[in-house]
Amino acid sequence: MGKPLRLNTIVPGEKVRVIEIRGGGQHLRRRLIEMGVVRGAPVKVQRVAPLGDPMEIRLSSSSLSLRMAEAHHVIVERDV
């Protein structure tokens, strides 16, 4: 297993895998699951908005935008 990282620290172009969602409140956690940010899901950081926040991530078949503060709660690892 790779080292646990926070999604907001991942740079565009990198591919990671979701380990868990840590903290952030019920609303955010449930919303992320509903949108497919679940344990084991492969995620690619696509880009960061022109003003530096939010970021766009690519899941297997959809694209999501989330604020850096929200990405902070998503713990990911690099594929080994």
Binding site: I33, M35, A49, G52, P54
Partner: protein, 684 residues
């Protein structure tokens, strides 16, 4: 057997093409209303098929059916309480897994389901092949492939709906795993053992929701059973506490994961060929649209285009409407025998009132054409993506930017544009501050007062300063509102960036038509009524007739209710530097801001037309100081928006409460600021 009045609900994720399927099924026979008590819109239409008459309801697009948002509550309550005969679940075929999460919740509710794999052409072009028969077998329901935007598969969909009406839903039990499954079984049994029992939904569903501690279901359960339900609720709390201790997560999160697991499992089972290399086109567009340097200028350029189309293109038809209404007024005035109150009511009250309503129509049509294109193409989500950092800083959502910019043109369409905001608090906040974006109708006031009191070189700066004051006040108010009345946990920003799509002409036209109809029906009637009241206030009571004298016009208005109110107000507005004449003109300005100018001209016994207004400048210089000039402009900028705006706020916020709050709040703010400026101003 003749079947009538079947209820069909359409559910699905946002961006799954729900609306195109709905439009394809119902055509233009649509009806838009609000769900009782909330601002969420209920769109319904009629479909006659074979011997059946179906009412089709387009539920709000949601990713889930929890009680987390108003949209989700509305969709869920409709399914539970209205018990539609069939629920059509529109799925974006190229995003099956995520969309099937909602399907899993519909299955749990035990509805008669028809699954629609929409945009199947796109999914196929990406090389994805799904086993339709397998979906039918696993979910026990009808499955149809469609391309809603081109009407492909709609005939089959109608057939499937008709068949589904008589088909009993398969009892699909979601697997929550051994541990959680046992809890669900236990609570289900406890509910079943209760006297009376619950009947509004399946016991298993209620058990699941109690374990999730769904606020709505828990509330209803404890209200219905009071002490009887206490044992069950205590057990539920105990289970939740234990689970949280073991899993470091609450049951609603764990259940959500299991449901997603179901969706993912189903997808793996039915997937015959994986899609490959999709979104190339969207990606290249996004590289440009969200580019570090090009993204924002491009957006501002598009914004300018929307502004230009909405307000400049609309200029000509608006002129036609104004001329047409003027012509009609003259025609009636010419052929109406004699003079009298009824004639004046018809010509100056009703006809010009109708004109005042119709004049916004070109704006609204064009604005909603633009908004439809921006939304349906997927660009609106990018607007939020680009602008969110800035807007989040002042306490709003990225999407609030568009309505705010439109506010510089006219508050009425701008308030309608807040519809693109999903979160109610964001919507309300944006709506309430929009009048501070100095609208086009306030410009005539500035162009009268600025040249009257300021030398040429100062004029642009004063004008710019006025606009800036409005924006700064808006930001301040947003902050205040967000930390007081409209406080609350900010909902997650997490938002889908859908692939770009070509908007359909049909979709755009239906959208434009729908908005215009709503405007004319809901707002138009009230605006018309208020116009007539305003006409009455400025024309009655009449002084004794002194025919022919031009001077009499000024005295007539002074004699009217508006003039009397102006006089009565004088003590209150004196500290702002205003006299009764300004007060009276302000009352006239309630109908529309630009009326302030013509009213003032009439009060100074000048004609309300251009020559009168040019002479008004001299009168203003003679009667008022530059400080008063600034105060008038400030007051007009901040104070009560015109009645059309108020009516729109009422309509879009769903209650008079917010409209009156906006009216009173802004007027008080205007009073306070003008008071300070004037009082400080006369002392320096």
């Amino acid at each position: 057997m003749k079947k009538t009045d079947l209820k069909i609900a359409i559910a699905g994720n946002p961006n799954a093409g729900k609306t195109t399927v709905f439009n394809a099924l119902t055509g233009t026979r649509q009806h838009v209303a609000n769900y009782p008590g909330v601002t969420v819109e209920k769109k319904s239409g009629l479909l006659k098929y074979k011997d059946m008459q179906m009412e089709i309801v387009d539920l709000p697009g949601t990713y889930s059916l929890t009680a987390a948002s108003e949209d989700e509550r509305v969709a869920r309550n409709y399914i539970i309480h209205e018990k539609p005969d069939v629920v059509v679940d529109v799925i974006d075929a190229s995003n099956f897994e995520r969309n099937a999460y909602l399907t899993s919740q519909l299955l749990e509710l035990g509805v008669r389901l028809v699954v629609v794999l929409n945009m199947s052409d796109r999914a196929k072009s990406q090389g994805q092949i799904l086993d339709i028969e397998m979906i039918k077998e696993r979910l026990g329901c009808e499955v149809v492939e469609t391309v809603g935007s081109r009407g492909v598969g709609i005939g089959e969909l109608k057939d499937s709906i008709a068949r589904a009406v008589n088909r009993n839903p398969k009892d699909v039990t979601l697997d929550y795993g051994e541990e959680f499954g046992a809890f669900v079984d236990e609570v289900t049994d406890s509910i079943a053992a209760m006297k009376g029992g619950v009947d509004y939904a399946s016991k298993r569903w209620i058990a699941t929701k109690l374990l999730e501690y769904d606020p709505q279901v828990v509330q209803k359960f404890t209200d219905t059973y009071r002490s009887l339900g206490t044992t069950i609720m205590n057990r539920v709390r105990e289970i939740r506490k234990n689970v949280e201790g073991h899993h470091r997560a609450s049951l609603d999160i764990l259940f959500a994961e299991r449901r997603y697991g179901f969706a993912a499992g189903l997808y793996r089972e039915i997937l015959r060929k994986e899609p490959s290399g999709h979104r190339h086109f969207s990606d290249s567009v996004d590289d440009l649209v969200t580019h570090r340097f090009i993204g924002i200028p491009l957006f501002l350029g598009l914004m300018y285009l929307v502004f230009y189309v909405t307000f400049t293109f609309a200029g000509l038809p608006m002129e036609w409407i104004e001329n047409g209404v003027g012509w009609l007024g003259n025609l009636v005035a010419t052929y109406w025998p004699g003079d009298g109150p009824i004639k004046s009511l018809v010509v100056d009250g009703a006809i010009s009132g109708v004109g005042g309503v119709l004049v916004f129509l070109p704006n609204i049509l064009l604005l909603f054409m633009c908004i439809s294109i921006l939304e349906d193409s997927g660009y609106m989500a990018r607007v939020a993506f680009i602008m969110d950092k800035l807007m989040h800083k002042i306490g709003l959502h990225g999407k609030s930017f568009i309505p705010m910019v439109l506010g510089f043109g006219c508050s009425v369409p701008a308030i309608m544009a807040t519809r693109t905001l999903e979160n109610r608090r964001d919507r309300l906040t944006t709506m309430l501050i929009i009048p501070l974006m100095s609208c086009g109708a306030k410009l005539p006031i500035y162009t009268l007062f600025i040249p009257a009191f300021f030398p040429m070189a100062w004029r642009p700066r004063v004008l710019w300063l006025l606009y800036l004051t409005g924006v700064m006040l808006a930001i301040l108010l947003i902050r205040i509102l967000r930390s007081s009345m409209l406080k609350g946990e900010s909902t997650p920003f997490v938002m889908e960036l859908p692939p770009y799509r070509v908007p359909t002409l049909k979709g755009i036209i239906i959208h434009m038509w729908e908005r215009s109809k709503l405007y004319l029906k809901k707002a138009g009637t009230i605006i018309l009524a208020v116009s007539i009241v305003m006409w009455f206030l400025t024309s009655y009571p009449k002084p004794a007739e002194i025919p022919g004298a031009q001077e009499v016009r000024g005295t007539a208005i002074e004699y009217s209710f508006a003039g009397r109110i102006g006089h009565a107000m004088e003590p209150a507005i004196k500290p702002l530097g205003f006299d009764w004449r300004i007060g009276t003109a302000l009352i006239g300005a309630m109908a529309a801001k630009e009326v302030f100018v013509s009213q003032l001209a009439i009060i100074f016994s000048l004609s309300g037309d251009e020559s009168g207004i040019s002479r008004l400048t001299e009168k203003l210089r003679k009667n008022y100081t530059p400080l008063i000039g600034i105060c008038v402009m400030l007051f007009c900028l901040i104070s009560f928006p015109c009645m059309a705006t108020i009516v729109m706020t009422k309509r879009e916020s769903g209650s008079w409460k917010w409209a009156i709050f906006q009216l009173v709040g802004l007027t008080m703010l205007a009073y306070l600021i003008t008071l300070i400026v004037y009082q400080v101003g006369i002392r320096i």
